[in-house]
Amino acid sequence: MIFIWAFVVAGLFCMIGQIILDNTKFTPGHITTLFTVIGALLGFLGIYDKLIKLAGGGASTIISNFGYLLYKGGIEGYLEDGILGIFTGLLTKGGAAIVGAVVFAALMTLFFRPKD
């Protein structure tokens, strides 16, 4: 059952993104940023937790998950260390995606050249 929901939830996110892309002047950069902020907002409202439970990888692969992880890291940091914890905790969960993207992209520049 989780596989069906993974397909539907990830598909719906992308479809909404595409509809916004087709009908407004937003660029792909606007869309990814917008969905990241929406992810943080859905985390705040307690909806993203449920979405992850329902759709697993379908929800965790969407860029909104990054916003959700930032929010979650901040909250957990606060509960542990107070205000300072927000600053130290915000990137603890979402950091993996940033570090991964940096390390792998840097790795690729060592071995590859752009096509043209």
């Binding site: 598909g11 990888g57 995606a97």
Partner: protein, 146 residues
């Protein structure tokens, strides 16, 4: 021919993108990515006996690695165009934007090229992600009143 007529003529000859088709493509591709990612999570969970949270972080890194590799090999740009938002909204879009700007600006030098353009496209995701999460945490803290 006045301005209005001209505008109508331009509109007639503009290539019409089929919006319905685009959104269906985005749904199917995005859905498939979600399905594959969930499959990977379950495989990693079962083989290495990990919790879901750890398995999905590993999966996220695998997806980022694959997207960076495919970008470097040169065919991911074409996929991105064909898949519409289907590859943009999953983590693949984020990884693609970082690795493509890294590759493109490499020739302009390590600092002024690679360094200053690395987050050219992904920077706004990180910036507004952090800002919005920070503000929302503060709001939540005020609501909780602790």
């Amino acid at each position: 021919m006045n301005k209005d007529e001209y505008q109508k003529l331009v509109k007639k000859h503009e290539p019409q993108e089929n919006k319905l088709e685009n959104s269906i493509v985005a749904f199917l591709i995005g859905g498939s990515i979600g399905l594959i990612v969930e499959g990977l999570i379950q495989v990693i969970m079962n083989i290495f006996n990990l919790t879901r949270e750890i398995a999905s972080t590993w999966t996220c890194l695998i997806v980022i690695f694959m997207a960076s590799l495919f970008t470097a090999l040169g065919f991911f740009d074409e996929w991105m165009t064909k898949a519409k938002a289907g590859l943009l909204l999953p983590t693949t879009g984020f990884a693609h934007s970082v690795s493509s700007s890294a590759l493109d600006y490499k020739k302009e030098g390590l600092i002024t090229g690679l360094g200053s353009n690395f987050f050219k496209l992904a920077g706004s995701v990180i910036l507004y992600g952090i800002l919005s999460a920070f503000i929302l945490v503060i709001v939540k803290v005020i609501i909780l009143g602790k």
